[in-house]
Symmetry: C2
Subunit: 454 residues, 2 copies
């Protein structure tokens, strides 16, 4: 007899984990909705022609491919086989699993371009799959929760991203830091230090500042051909992380004033902060981080990344402004800004900091235990009344030992148990046990209903 | 430039469809929760060793298989290729996509057998995938919403299935008929007509009664070796569908009284109905249907199927009692009963009968339109207040022509628009337009807040 197992890098989510996860999903959805984002779901499977080439070479290799149905091998020859897996794949697999929510969103926008009101604001909360090497915190199936607005370059949208981040994490009880940057500032830095257009190379190196320190970042830049003069000019960069945001902006302007691009980037950042203030959020924990890049190639303006305070878990949310989401599908020039919440990491943060509210873990609120068939005639109508009042309620379905039934209530952390025997049927007074305090009291069915619908 | 397309048999769900779908999901989840079922999610991918052989030969062919990562073809020889697709598959694909929620549930129960409180009640709402030929109402990716309780054979569970069906469809506003049968009654019929043990063969034929009529059912049974005498004995079967449930039970007892198995099945049916009454649901639209089988092999007791009245759409829910869910994974004798709701068909029913409540389609409730930058200083704080009060609210992000902004509100069916120009900033009286009636009134920001949080 086979012992069943789970595929590597995948997980079951049992009742307690699910209730906590649903709390996170509901909180994020609540924010998305109130900010006017509309739900979208796309299929798990996409044509490989849609997915391939969108995530770089490494991404292509991490795509899960689905074997064609039917006699997929019928036309294959020895030659096909000899050509190797990579070349063989297109002959036997036409479809792949979603790798992120951005490419399917872009595909959807292009396919529905004539029917979408612009600006188009959508949110999407679905799993994605990556054939990555599994490790702690990295799974082969995980959820993304994205909100994007496309069809406008208004900085109000960047401001609303900041507001949504604050709304979500405040509602979850997570103390966070929002790091912001702007591609145009990075481009301005590259200009000012004498390597215009090389902000991508620059950002790859300075992105590692946290991990490897200033000296090693400079070594890496030297290896990539940055001169000592260039590196000297770069030195103001390493002083910013310690300063408050308003001072950073003043110093940035002094340092990068010669670059028109940088001035635009700084102005965008300033306007975004000012707008956030107009919305009434004056004290958002925003930090400017000139080393923040998040795979730069994609972003053209603001870049966002959120970390939770008090834990050493990677970023729990990130996003930014892009200008060419749908270009690869033949619809150029669509500007937008988006944010993605990482549910799995948010879960880890909340678990480590014990932030899940006690009530969230609560499933069934009351278990009715009738001791015999007669007692059922009292238990079942009460059960229906409780459920109609919105109370999650169960009856123990078998007539068995009291201990076994109480163990069941304890195992499910059910806070109240109502015991109904022949005495209770006669007197109409049911025995209600508070499973937390151990206290047991007698009350009528109506009183039970009142107690639980308080 | 490629034109993107969707894989055949898959769908995008845009904002309006999603809001309706979420209404269905939320309604079903609301019922599951109140009945004490706990959420479970399993991975989309399962090992093919878990899935294969569980759904019959046809099912195995309909499984989506996932190509192994890396150089999957490395060890393949010409011989492997020549052996054909079916034999080749295990060498290049270890994983497949979930085909239903039952087998993953069984795997989960077996893997967690020592930690699950029994009876274990779980619900699961996730997509499943089948490489079926797409046709109207049949998709390659669709959601199932299942609730099962395992570890008890109490008929209270069957009664609660009936209650949950009623709760879900009443809350959705769907007028339904619940058809019930019992495997033991089918077995009893086979005994009484002289073909004991052949209830599976019998049920395959009589299951088609609706579609092909009595004569053709008899023809088919004759072909399958049923004698004329047997068929004569079967004739009472064809009279039941017209009778009320209590009369059916009387007649069934008369007809099948000689079979102990049938008597048990009838008694189970009677007890279930009686319990449903004790719960307070006396008028459930239950019909006995002795032709109901639903792929019989699986079920051992009660069998359920729900159809919506007033439309010709197949069953929208189904389930039953089984005795050996986990036997195939080495854990025999676990009895349970489950119900599955078909969200896609429920959606079709509700759309055809126009049952979605008007409010469900509602996303954003109010659009703020500031005409200039100064007006934003009035709009943005109001926007934040609205959202904090739980109102889905948007600001039009660009300063553009009024017509364009009103078109946006109309396209998104936003019921209220608040127009803010220099006059409004000066007087503090904002212009509020009801987009349904066309009526326009002036009011303070506080009054707008009151209007929308009523």
């Amino acid at each position: 007899m086979q012992k069943p197992t789970l595929p590597k890098g995948t997980r079951d989510f049992g009742p307690e984990q699910m209730r906590n996860r649903l709390f996170i999903f509901d909180t994020i959805r609540h924010t998305f909705k109130r900010f006017g984002f509309q739900p979208l779901e796309t299929p798990s499977m996409e044509n490989l022609s849609t997915l391939t080439g969108k995530y770089g070479n490494e991404g292509d290799q991490l795509l899960y491919k689905i074997l064609n149905s039917g006699d997929y091998a019928a036309g294959l020859t020895e030659l096909d086989l000899a050509s190797g897996s990579k070349k063989l794949t297109p002959s036997i697999a036409e479809k792949g699993l979603r790798y992120d929510l951005t490419v399917p969103f872009a595909r959807y926008v292009v396919m529905n371009r004539n029917n979408l009101p612009m600006p188009f604001k959508r949110y999407q909360m679905q799993p994605v799959w990556r054939a990555d090497r599994p490790q702690k915190g990295r799974y082969r199936e995980f959820y993304q929760c994205d909100a994007d607005v496309v069809g406008t370059d208004s900085l109000l949208c960047e401001a609303e991203i900041v507001l949504m981040i604050d709304d979500v994490f405040r509602n979850l009880g997570i103390d966070y830091t929002l790091k912001v940057n702007n591609r145009k500032i990075l481009a301005g830095i590259a200009e000012v230090i004498g390597v215009p257009g090389q902000e991508a190379t620059l950002s790859v190196a300075i992105d590692k500042l946290d991990k490897i320190g200033r000296d090693k970042v400079q070594d890496e830049l030297r290896e990539r051909g940055f001169s000592d003069e260039t590196l000297t000019k770069l030195s103001p960069l390493f002083a910013f992380s310690e300063l408050p945001l308003d001072q950073v902006l003043v110093q940035l302007t002094t340092w990068l004033g010669a670059s028109e691009t940088a001035r635009i980037g700084i102005a965008e950042l300033q306007e975004m902060i000012q707008l956030v203030g107009q919305y009434g959020l004056a004290d958002a924990p925003i930090e400017f981080d000139p080393t923040l890049a998040r795979g730069l190639s994609y972003y053209t303006g603001a870049i966002f990344e959120v970390k939770a305070r008090g834990v050493s878990i990677g970023s729990i949310s990130g996003g930014g402004r892009y200008d060419n989401l749908t270009g690869t599908f033949g619809m150029p020039g669509l500007s937008g800004v988006g944010i993605s919440f990482g549910v799995d990491r948010i879960y880890d943060v909340m678990e480590e900091l014990k932030l899940f509210p006690a009530g969230v873990g609560q499933g069934t609120q009351v278990l009715l235990i009738p001791f015999d068939l007669e007692a059922r005639s009292v238990a079942l109508p009460l059960l229906s009344q409780l459920r109609e009042s919105g109370v999650a309620a169960e009856v123990y379905p078998d007539l068995t030992k009291v201990k076994k039934m109480m163990d069941y209530a304890n195992a499910k952390a059910i806070p109240y148990v109502v015991l109904i025997g022949s005495e209770e049927v006669q007197t109409g007074l049911l025995s209600v046990k508070n499973m937390v305090t151990g206290e047991q009291t007698k009350m009528t069915a109506d009183a039970v209903l009142s107690l639980l619908t308080l």
